[in-house]
Structure formats: C-alpha cells, structure tokens
Symmetry: D2
Subunit: 378 residues, 4 copies
C-alpha cells in the first residue's frame, strides 16, 4: 500500500485547480508509485471561497493563513499557487518549516529573490520543484530524448514563441483575482514572466544555457482600470517582448511573446534546427511532434508528424490506446508522478528551484535589455 504525501495547497485559482486535478489522478494512472498525494488542506485568505474550493475538490480541511498551514504537522508538502510577489516569503518559510515545496512559475519577482529562495531551500534540504509543466508534455519530453540521443547533431537555431490575444481590448482591467497578471506589483513583469519564462525554461532544458540577450519590450495599452483600486492607472507590465540570444553551445535563439497576436490563444511554439535533424512543436497541437531527419533518403525526406499516442512514447503507456489524444492537464499529472517517483530515490525533480533560477536570470536580463536597448550578459 502506498504512503501518503499530505499536500497543503495555497491558492485556488486556475493553477490551484490544475495541480489539484493532477494530485487526484496520479494514483489511478501511476499505481506503481510508492507515494500517493493526499489532499490535506487548502489555504487562502477568503474563507468562504477556500472552503468551497476544499469541498469541491476534496481537501480534508482548509486554512486562511498560510503561516498556520506551515505550522501543521500533518502537511508534508506545500504547493504555492499564488501571485508571484508572494512566492519568496512563502517558499522560504516553508523550507524553514521543513516542508517539501512545489512552486508555481515563475520562481520569483527577480533573481535576487530567487537566490534567497534557493539558498533557503537548499539549506533546508527539502524536495522541491517548479511547475514548468510543459517539459512533461510527451511531445516535448520526446524532443528532449531525441536531442540527448544525438539525433540532431550540432544545433544552429532555436526559436520559440508564446502568442496570446486576450488583452487587446482596452477594457480588460489590471489587478485583482482574475487579472493580477497585468499588474506589475503582483506579477513583476508581463509576458516575460508569464509566457516567455516557459519558453526559456524549455529552451535551457533542451539546448543549454543562454549567454546574452538583446530584447525589445512594449506596452501597447498604457493605462487600464485597476480592478482593486477602481482607478485608471499606468500599466507597468510588458505587453509584448521579443529577444535575440546566443546559447552557450553556439546556436542562435529567437524568442517572442505577446498578448496581442490576434487569433492565437496559447500558442507556445518551439523549433530547433540541428545539423542532422530538426524538431518543432506547438501547444495548440500538443499531441504531435514534427521531425525532419536529413538521413532519410532523398526520395522520401520530409517533415514527419509524429502523433504521440503510442505506449513507447514518454508517459503514454499510462493512458489510453494508440491514436487517442491526451490534453494540457496531463503535463501536471506527469510532473506529480515524477516528483513522487524521485522521492523514492531521493533524486531532485527538474526543474528545481535552482534550475528555475537560471530561467529567472534570463528573464531579468531580457527586461533590462528591453529597458536599456543594449545587449545584456545573463
């Protein structure tokens, strides 16, 4: 019989739901694991709402002060699903309380905060991971595997976009529960921390460190109503951000993110061009990986669309039968499963806080470069 890992969830928004769903599904689909998550407590300031959330999803209890949650002996792991400006304090306190930590991305408001967090975590020696969930979309995991197997050879190019269109209207407010991602006080940055951070995390994982960047940032809508103050206020975040970069392996990178690309909802794309082969993937078509291999004969050389549904593919032996798609939420299930499996051997679960700090450093350099119109070394 499996042993419980008792989860204390802080937050109940979009990510709170996605993570909770993951915890609940892991025992059904990964029955071989030694550990299983148990929904011990949900925590948020608004008691009415957190109570309803706990009841709906099956948390055994609720708290309204995260410090109280950390004091409880019956909590093994804390999941931080709150706006970015709250990550640091919670994570450091949780580490000091000896809790395992699963923290929503981006790691922190900036590198300085992130370093403090990493130091505290590592000092405490607690298991930790940051929810850069896209690493565990099976198609992306397969990309990693093919690269590690040397199928691409020397890499020349990496390009990645994350395109949305939900803030084009000037009537979208900033701040508050639904739109804190537009409020620089809560989010730190706009698309850079929210979207590009995903692109950067995957890029570093697949292609290694980024050395320097030249960025361009833009705020198209300069003022928005603030949902909490009910005042029209300056918008402090970046609506769009693009950057050029060099990777440590000599390849060139090109990244872009925006919330003003009409027609794209969550179009995270990536493409890698190597000497021997190329790969590309996008989130709107997440069950597929495109692959081009030069070694194919000249008559039949072409981009292959690999439909990632067969049991040989990463994680896919856990789900259905060939041809049947999984969805976005499964990436979280896979991350929980890996986290639990790694607990058995004591291995870290990537990306750790330390891994996420590197992504944070690139984000900081990007924002600085965008502000100063200079190349910045990471």
């Amino acid at each position: 019989m499996s042993e419980p890992i008792r989860i204390g969830m802080i937050g109940y928004g979009f990510m709170g739901r996605a993570h909770t769903n993951a915890y609940k599904r892991v025992p059904d689909f990964f029955p071989e694991l030694k550990y299983r998550p148990v929904l011990q407590a949900a925590c948020a300031r608004n008691e009415e709402k957190v109570k309803a959330f706990a009841e709906q999803w099956g948390y055994a209890s609720h708290e309204t002060d995260w410090r109280d949650l950390l004091k409880r002996d019956d909590i093994d792991a804390v999941d931080i699903c709150v706006p970015n400006n709250l990550h640091k304090e919670m994570a450091i306190a949780a580490a000091e309380a000896g809790k395992m930590i699963l923290c929503e991305k981006p790691l922190a408001m900036n590198v300085a905060e992130g370093k403090e967090m990493c130091d505290a975590i590592e000092k405490a020696g607690v298991a930790n991971t940051v929810w850069y969930n896209y690493r565990r979309i099976p198609a992306v995991s397969l990309a990693k595997q093919l690269i590690d197997d040397g199928r691409l050879g020397r890499i020349y190019h990496y390009r990645s976009n994350f395109l949305q269109d939900w803030t084009i209207s000037e009537d979208v407010p900033q701040g508050g529960a639904a739109t804190w991602r537009l409020d620089s006080a809560a989010a730190g940055s706009g698309v850079t921390g929210d979207l590009l951070a995903h692109c950067i995390d995957t890029a570093i994982w697949l292609n290694g460190s980024i050395v320097d960047v030249s960025a361009m940032t833009e705020t198209f809508v300069k003022q928005r109503l603030h949902a909490e103050t009910q005042q029209v206020q300056e918008v402090g975040i970046d609506d769009a951000c693009a950057f050029l970069c060099h990777f440590d392996n000599g390849s060139l990178g090109l990244f872009e993110s925006t919330r003003y690309a009409r027609g794209h909802k969550a179009l995270y794309t990536l493409e890698i061009n190597g000497e021997k082969a190329s790969l590309r993937w996008d989130l709107h078509d997440l069950n597929r990986l495109d692959f081009f291999e030069h070694a194919d004969g000249p008559e039949t050389r072409g981009w292959r669309t690999i439909h990632i549904t067969e049991g040989e593919m990463p994680y896919m032996d856990k789900w259905w039968v060939p041809g049947l798609c999984i969805g976005y939420e499964h990436s979280f299930v896979h991350q929980v499963a890996d986290f639990l499996k790694n607990l058995e051997s004591g291995q870290p679960t990537n990306p750790t806080f330390r891994d996420a700090l590197e992504t944070q450093a690139v984000c900081d350099a990007v924002l600085k470069s965008g502000a100063d119109r200079t190349w910045e070394t990471v």
Copy 2:
C-alpha cells in the same frame, strides 16, 4: 450537498478505466450537478484482478458474479463494460432489477438482441445510455449545434472513416482479454461493430436516418491463433468494411473502416457538405473543427480551423483557459455529466438504448449487404 449515484462497474478493461475516470472527475469539474457518482462496486470473474482494479481506482467493494452485483440494494446504476456477447443478458437483468444502465457500445450482437434489450429497458423505465462517447467531443457537439442552427442548409454528402492499423501482423491473436475484438464469438463482428458503429451513431445524430446500404466486407488475414484455445482458427470477423448509403434527407453517405490502414491509429474522420457550408473533423486532432461557409466574401472564403478551447464552446467552460487542449477521455466525463444532469429533469440521455438500436440496424444491414453483395434496406 449532492446526492450519490452508486455505480456498479462490470469489467475492468480499457473501457472500465475510461468510464471510471469519468465518474471520478465529474464532481470536480461539474460541481453544480445535483447528483454525483460514487464508486460502489467493481465486478468481474477474476477475483484477484477485480480486487486490484477496485483498489487502484477506489471502488468501495468488488464482486465476482454480476448477478450478485444486481442483487445489491446499494447499487443505483450498472455500467456494462464487457464483450458484446454479454450485453444482452446483463442489460435485461439489470433493467429487471431496476438499475439505471450505462452500456458500452455496440448495443448488442444484432438487432434481435437489441430489440429485446430495448423492450426490457423501456418496460422497466430505467434511465439508460449507450457509450457512443464521440458525440461529446466538443468539436462534434459544436458540429451538431451548427447543423441544428441551419448553418449548412440542405445536406448533399456525408463521409466518414475509422482507420486503424493494429491487426496487419498475422501474429496478432484472436480471442482472450486483449484481443476479443477479433473473435466473432465475443464481438459479433469486426470493424463494423467496433468502429463503424461509432461513425454510424454520429452520422444518424448529425444527419438523420440511413435508408439503404451497399457494403463490401473483407477479411485479409483468414486464420489466427486463438488466445484462449491456443488453436489456429478461422477468423470470423470483418477486417475491413466500406459502404455506400442514402440518408433519409436525400444526402449520400460513404463510410469506411479498417484495421489495415498503415499509419492510422484511431483516425475517426467525418465530413458533411451542405448547400451553405461544410464541416469536417477527425479524432487525431480532436480539439479542432474545420468549417467552410460560402457566405464569407469571395476574398476571404476558406476552410476555417476552429480550435475548440474557449468557454463559449460546448463543455469548455468547465475546463481550462483558451488555447489549452483537452483529450479523448473528456468525452466520457461529458457523457456522465449529461447523464447526471438529465436525471434531475427525468429526460433521456442520448444515445439511449433505443437510439443505439437504430445504429445496430444499420450495422446489421451493412453486414448482410457485404455478405450478399446487394443493396439492403435498413
């Protein structure tokens, strides 16, 4: 607080897992429902296996004789997830025991069986549905809505395929737990009942009744080892089946199914051509619906790829945010949710046994036409 509908699950195979997962997820994602499924008992002949299944998925108990299951007062609904040759007896007994019934498709081995089942069900007056789950892929539900709204106008053509490739090797056995779908004694037919039945169900739902058919059936591999008898035996099922048909509305239909289409795993496709617009969809790309509308101006007329992820789309307000895909399994969650919602008002949940009988009648006509090389009236 919601009221329990206590489920008795018969079978623990691929469909047993898919349905169970659906029962478990509904309360999380459809919290407004009055009823919630409760995993009361799992039932199968092999006690060791059914016990392990019950433990893994959280069924409160298990049974090894389905007749015992039906006798239990603490079971409100029975889910029949066993080979086709067992459907009739179980369904009739369940109806007589006053249980609600959720039955895996196809309804029965043939129309004669199906009629008996419908009669028993309707006599008992129990809630019932058959798991033609593809109706509740949001893209397919949207297709239904667009057709009902008159967006297509008069229909001229309907074409639908279900293509797989998993039985090309002669080494695949017939019979037994994993491959009973190749054994005519258990399955009744091959691709006709397994795959075409899905195509036919959706077609009737979207485009109305089928009047007559001309079919062609083929068994490419004539003999296979039987997994249970360990004898090489004649293969009695259809490996491939295609048919022409007329719909009651005057449109023409073309259907094909096979397990010998190299490169296709579960490629269920459909396309409808109407006077004003056309629609197409396929299961390998299940989050998309293609739509062509002639009323678009000549400069910008084209096939639209509708990425079905926004909250306005059928069922999608229950899941994530725009751009984020769901998967195959969600169709089952939607069917459970609709079943439970309809219980509140006493309305039937399509497809009912009676609806599924019409699909069965088309299947029977198709098989007869394939055998006799004649047009058959349904």
Copy 3:
C-alpha cells in the same frame, strides 16, 4: 537542332490553352529533346474565335473544319480538345490520316466507341496518348516510383475522391461552350467521366486493374436551362457518384466524386495503404506527397510531408531550385516532354488509347451499377 512536330490543335477552350502552353514551354525546359512541338494550326468551327486564339497563342494558321486540318501534309500530330461526343470520329479519322494523336480524356462516350478508336489507332500504328495529366504531377509520379520499388508491400486499401462545388446553384445552365460538361449529349456522363475518370486512371496505374464495382449515382438538380436551346430540360448527367470496388491485387477501393461538396474546388485526393507503408496526396497541395513508413523507429514514426521540389524528384531537375513550387499546368508540360522523348525510341506514352480504354470500361461499369443497383464486373 531539334526537329519539329507540327501540331494541329482542335479546340480552344480550357484544355486547348493548357495543352498549347505545354507545347510552348517544353523546348525551354527540356532542351535535350530531339523533337520540339511547333504550333502549326488551330482548328474550330467559329472562325473569329479560332483566329483570335491562333493569334494570341502563336499558331501559324487556323482551320474551321477539322477534316481539312487532317488533310494537311504539314500537320504531324492532332490534339483533340473538344467535347467527348466528338472524340471518336475525329480520332479515327486522324488515325486513318496517319497523324499522331493526343486526345483529351475521357477517351470516349463509352467502351464501344473506345474500342473502335483503339482498333483504328493500332491499325494505323500512330503514336498516341490520352491527357490523363495527373500521372505527371511529380508527387504522383513519385508515388508510382515508391510503389514500383516495393516500398508499400502488399496493398490493402485505395481511396480516392474528386470533389468540387461549382454546380450547387440551380442557376448554372447545361450545354453550350462553358457548361457542356453538364449536358449528357455532349459529355456522356457527369462527374464519372469528368472527374472519376482521373481517379480511376491514376488508380489503375498505381494499383492495377479493377475487377468489380458497386456504385451509387445521384442527380441533385433535376432540371436546368440549356444554354443552347434556352429550354429548361431534364439533367441527364450524374451530379455525384461513389463506388466500392475490388482490385485485381486483392485490395479494396473506395471512390467518390461530386460537384456538390461545398468548399472544395478541385480536390482530387488519393491514399494507398500498404503493409509496409502508406501514401496520400491531393491536388490542392500538389507539391506535397505524404508518406508513412512503418520501418521508421517507434520514437519517430510518423506521416512525412515530402515537399517535392528538389532535383532528385521526378521532372524537378527541369525547373527551379529546392523549395520552389510548380503548378497544375506543369503536368501537361511533362506529358508533352515524355511524348516527345518516347518518339525518339518508338515507345508508347502512357496512358495510351488502349490504357484509357480500361478506365472507360470501369466508368461504364460504374454507371451501369449506379443505374441497376447491382455489383458489376468490369
């Protein structure tokens, strides 16, 4: 210096333009050929129009009676680009006059006519070909090559459609220069001879003979104004036609054609499923061939999209550089080039009249099956 083949063109419609363009381009792109086409005379009943056509395209002279054209000593080859009901008489007379013949498809109004034509042609021993031009789209030529090389193994399935939507409006007339294809007196049949004949020709070329057929034909619009008589008359052609068939190699075929598939303009599609590999292609994307090969490793197995633009591909060394597309009209250039090249060695140019007669036989069987609702042996 190359030697002239003096062309006498009968007709100046869509096909007259396409063939003429091909004759003019061959010497530029196939300079190695011993023979070159020379535009000697254009012929049609309407003198004003044929004169204008001849001047526009550069024919050295014009005729208004095709019998006069055949009498001329300075004509080596006759190109028949007129409605189907005129093919037989012209082709037989041209053969008797010792002219080479390039005849627009379909070969004839029916098999009986076609046989007479073949007999006359073969008796005369003149070089001949029928303009089933799609064989020489490079992607289709490559498909032939891959099949002949055994890359697909045993074939299980062949499916092919030709979908258009231009006759949905009841206001489209029948008969006359622009719409003779809707007039059964001129065309013989509707989509069967116009569109399915292309599908059948390619199918026989790629997959061998068709043994028997079961067809369904439909005329959606029963009456149309006749452009010449200005009377509303019964429509005698098939608006849509679909058929099932068996190939001689044991594979199953499924064909469909219509002019009522809203959203499709000239969507000729084909797909072949073999034991080892599958192929698919369509005319709206004519520079691509999709290919799936099971021998690819399980990690990277997928449908390849081969963009047919490199010099190793059939005919493509004659055109531009990798990545640059060619169009529809190039298929005719290739057929002229092959015809001229084969003249050097005296080899026939496929499809010959005799080859086209086999396609005609399938068309006749299809139409008979559609009328009688029976399986017909070809």
Copy 4:
C-alpha cells in the same frame, strides 16, 4: 496588335531563366496588354554559354560585353541578372543610355551605391523596377489588399522568416557561377541581402517603414574553398541573421534568415497580427493565405485557409479554373505584366529603384547592428 518592348538580358543563371520565362508567357496570358516583350538579345561574358542560352530560350541575338548591349538601338529595356557587385555600374550606364531597367534584387551592395543608382535612374527618367517578385504571389497581393482595406485594423506585430539549409555542409564552396552568393566580394552580404531583403521588401510594402533595428549575425562555417581561386578562404558573409525592429506605425517586427535550418528549403514565412484580424503565409504553400478575423462569431471563429485559385483573386483570372494551383514562376509573369501595363499610363511599377533603396537601407542598418551589437536607426 501589341507593340514590342525589346529586352536585353544580362546574365543567364537561375534568375535569367525565371525572367525569360516570364517575358515569354505574358503575351499568352495577358493578351490585352498594349506592349509585349521581345527577346532581342542575351548578354554574358562566356560566349559559348550565352549563345547556347540565347538559342534555347529564343533570344534573337547575343552579346558578350554589356556595354555593347547598351549601345544597341534595338534594345528598349535591360534586365540585370548578375551578381550584386555589378548592379551599380550596369544600371547607371543603362539609365544614361536611356534604357528601361529591370534589376534583380537586392538593389546594390549598399545604400551608397543604391543612391547613385536611384539618382541616375530618376535623372534619366526611365521606367524601372526591382525584382522583388514575392509581392506578386497572389496570396501576398491579397494580403496587401486586405490590409489596405482596413481589415486588420491597428497592427501590433509583424514576423517573417526565410529559412534554407543548403550550406550546412562545409564542402559547399564559395564564389564562382553556382555559389557566388557565398562570396562577400560578389554578394556583399549573405542571407541579409539574399533572403532577408525579400522579407524586408514585403514588410515595408505591407506594413510601412522600419525605424530601427537590433540584429544578430553569425557565420557558422568560417572558411570555405573558393570555387575560382581554389583556395580555402575566410567566409565573409553572414550565414544567419535575425533582427528585432520597430515599424513607423508602432508595431514590432521580428525577422530571421538562415541557410542552416535543416528541413527548410525556401521557407519564406510572414505573419501580421492586427487588432481586428491576422494574416499569415509561406512560400512552401504559396497558393494559400491564412486569415483570422475576430468579427467572426465565437462559435465559428478560426484561422481560415484561403486557397487562392478563384478568378476574384489577384491575377488568378488569367490562369486556370478554381482549385488549380500556380507556382513560383508565376510571380515573375505578374511583375512583367504589371510593368508593361504601367508603361501604358506612365505609372511607376513597384518596387522601383527608390522603393528598393529603402530595403537596402534596412539591410545596411541590420548588418551594422549585427557587427556593432547596438540598436541602429534606419
């Protein structure tokens, strides 16, 4: 009867063939034009080769010194199809000789050269155009029309790539007739002038002027054999180049070009995101334009794939029938047709030398930015 414009063609390479083909096809497909091109003389230093070229394509004469060509009274227009380092001298001399000029892109080696050329051309008052042929791919022309009609509203983003993979091997030489594009002495730059110049020209045409740029350039293979000197020499060109930019209308641009993107042959892509709609196109699929319009209802909003083959589309009434594709070479035919038509009214044919100078200015700024790692104002 149309009047001749007697063409003197300098060069016989890839572009010499493409332009010559265009001159020959225009009278057939644009018979209404007042002027028609006449192939009067081909010119190149190698007499044997230029003579063969002239004979193959039908030039009435040949020359081996372009100065002699310019002296001839029977030449109305000169087409400059030679390496970039020769453009300036030829163009200025041709202008002084009063010839119309059609010059291959990029305009010149740099802005300084380009200015001299523009001044000379404008002083002479001769008709002129630069072969940025992609403006006249019908899909791109349609994009221009939709933007000019205000269908996109305010523009936020423009992104464009031109990806190839033909120089990955270190064995590809630089210099000489086939590979002068890798020789900085002949080409001036690498992908910037060869490929990005196309992207920039289209971008300025569709989206207005570029204000400033931040670029990154790279030479992956540092030394190559020179085909003429037979020495291994430093590679002076940019193998890859990417840049960020601001447009004058406030939108953000992102451009990338490389010859090291394995799997892409001539993948010129562009995408424009506006407030109301977005557009995207690529050269591997040149007959299609993708279009997303927010005003479509929420149920059916999606990316439309417009298959550009109907007569309402730019230039398409000149070719075949709906559904039938054209190819790369047709863009040149359209440019010749427009050039001839504009001669009738005396209007300039875009892009003129002056238009191309603006593209040159962006290229220069990009190269300077890449070298200096700074933002450069154009």
